[in-house]
Subunit: 406 residues, 2 copies
Amino acid sequence: MPYEWIANGTITTATGFLASGVSCGIKPAGQLDLALVASQRPCAAAGAFTTNRFPAAPVLYSRALLAKNPARVWAVLINSGCANACTGEEGLADARETATLAAQALGCPPDGVLVLSTGVIGVRLPMEKLRAGIPLAAQALAPDGGAAAARAIMTTDTQPKACAVRTEIAGQPVTVAGMAKGAGMIHPNLATLLSVIATDASATPAVLQTILRRAVERSFNAITIDGDTSTNDTLLLLANGGSGHPPVSDPQAPEATALAEAVEAVAIRLAQSIVRDGEGASHFVTITVRGALHDADARRAAMAVARSSLVKTAIYGGDPNWGRVLCAVGYSGAEVDPARTSLWFGDLALVAGGKPLDYDESQAAEVLRQPEVTITVDLGLGAGQATVWTCDLTHKYVDINAHYRT
Amino acid sequence: MPYEWIANGTITTATGFLASGVSCGIKPAGQLDLALVASQRPCAAAGAFTTNRFPAAPVLYSRALLAKNPARVWAVLINSGCANACTGEEGLADARETATLAAQALGCPPDGVLVLSTGVIGVRLPMEKLRAGIPLAAQALAPDGGAAAARAIMTTDTQPKACAVRTEIAGQPVTVAGMAKGAGMIHPNLATLLSVIATDASATPAVLQTILRRAVERSFNAITIDGDTSTNDTLLLLANGGSGHPPVSDPQAPEATALAEAVEAVAIRLAQSIVRDGEGASHFVTITVRGALHDADARRAAMAVARSSLVKTAIYGGDPNWGRVLCAVGYSGAEVDPARTSLWFGDLALVAGGKPLDYDESQAAEVLRQPEVTITVDLGLGAGQATVWTCDLTHKYVDINAHYRT
């Protein structure tokens, strides 16, 4: 194993990163709503942003900043409670002002701060509160502030999401640490949700971008909660070089591979933790499709099953209604031969070569009584495979989303 | 108006069609579960079938029969309670046997009967019950049997769905009548759900197919309840020529247009009635996107809004969270310029030219308190437009689908 997990890791487990989470009054009840992650050295950075055609102001701002200045990023400012999306020119000016205020408070160059927002769409940032809150967040920066920061970026999340791994690059110990938020409006499209991964490794922005793009495909782009791709989804990867090894500049080098594996492990863990905390979720569901013509087909089929409201409600209800799984595979667009298709719930075979098996219904129901459910489909056509993660669709999901703003 | 609605119309309102609905024991509680629609003269017929790659046995059977014999169809046999899908070769043999039994009972040629099934996937038809039930259904055929037939094809539907219009072709009064079922696993893809439209007009199979294909696009393919495309979706159009006008053989003729308009009216009414009866639905939602680059883009955007769990739960909760609507438009794949986009709930303008308006929140909430909600998006880019219909996502939807089989 090229990396190992660090117990209770947070974003500040990576050397040279400070963080804070404060309450500046965006959320009404005084919850933490403003997080700051700052590096003691400038970072090389990479980002993946939502493909939504209404990108939020902070997405526009941060994407442009990263395109111009990927090698000297000092900090990321994140607010919850307001997405600053669909807010036009004024929203973009607000995003720019918060970035500038954070840079002033940190004493770094004005283009050294990335900004992210999450919360209600269509409402402008309460700038008076942010003007007061940003200096407080800067003052609160601490080497053990990762837990507070992870908490400050939550919206409908019930749990903060953070983790860290240790690996070795060029003989030096390196930490890759991350945090994320997200429980609804989760469906892959390049990147989903908000997540920041920080490492004390040293790498060029180009190497980081390559690593990030691949990690996203196998992590955040392999989960869905409700099929909605948000306006604000952003994943950032910051590397401050604090571990002291020579910079990694060749994406093919073994050092790049070690870093990529560690980043991918953190990204998958964070993505899975988002699904585990999916709005109203009572089951964590792993869907694997194998035997597809190619990986893309397997992905398409697995994601159709993961998105199906009928599959998700059946899992919630403990009803092993496997026909809904094949139905979703059937409309996914993947190449299918019904007579070659096999299906398992957990280890229990339900369909083999297109034929329903005479399985024990109570055993199938028992599979669904577990909090973690695995569904496997073998299309019997080729070597393509994919695994995606989702959660069930519950009464509580409807509760949460029927009255999100009220 | 080229057609007029007939009060309490059912499929037997069309001249020369008989129907019945009986209970043969497929459903446990003795509900009606077997419908037969039979014509007193052979029909020209057209069909649209699911694009799901696991087409049910009755879909395979009826599609093949129509390809071979579209000009001499005598009847349609429909059972509820069992979809006969994912049942392999045996399921296909069962479908064939039911068609043959119905033809025997009716005294028509063996290839004169189409079969449709709806219900649980992955379970074989209880053939003993059907062997006993099919003759009963044939005996029960009556000129006023349309209401019983519409009831016998219901699954999670709470209301039977039937209607009829009268038009005139070549000076002769013509009736177009239909019935449908469907409340879940509803998402367009060529055809969705089960529906039979019968007319006493006279037309060639080719004209009927043209008419059907166009009507489907603006009716059954413009609705979604849960985004799932079923394995059994089938729409049939039967024309028995009972009204006595000369056969319509030119799809461009004014007679074809009159028939097409009547068929489309019936198809739209049936499709809307399915949405009104959507599983657990408490709101009927009309989504219109206009100003798109082209109609296909408008359709894509409208359907993304209609499918969004977040939009649907917000409507259920009476929360005018319009950001979710723009978010869905943004990930739909349609060409969008945020600065040109405008949005209305009912008549209330919420966004104009990309800017959130200072609207009255209580007025917006009032729009959502109505049982019928209209959402209009203007993309400000071109002349493309589309209207689709959907319902909200409620606690009751989860109730119904968590325990469908149990």
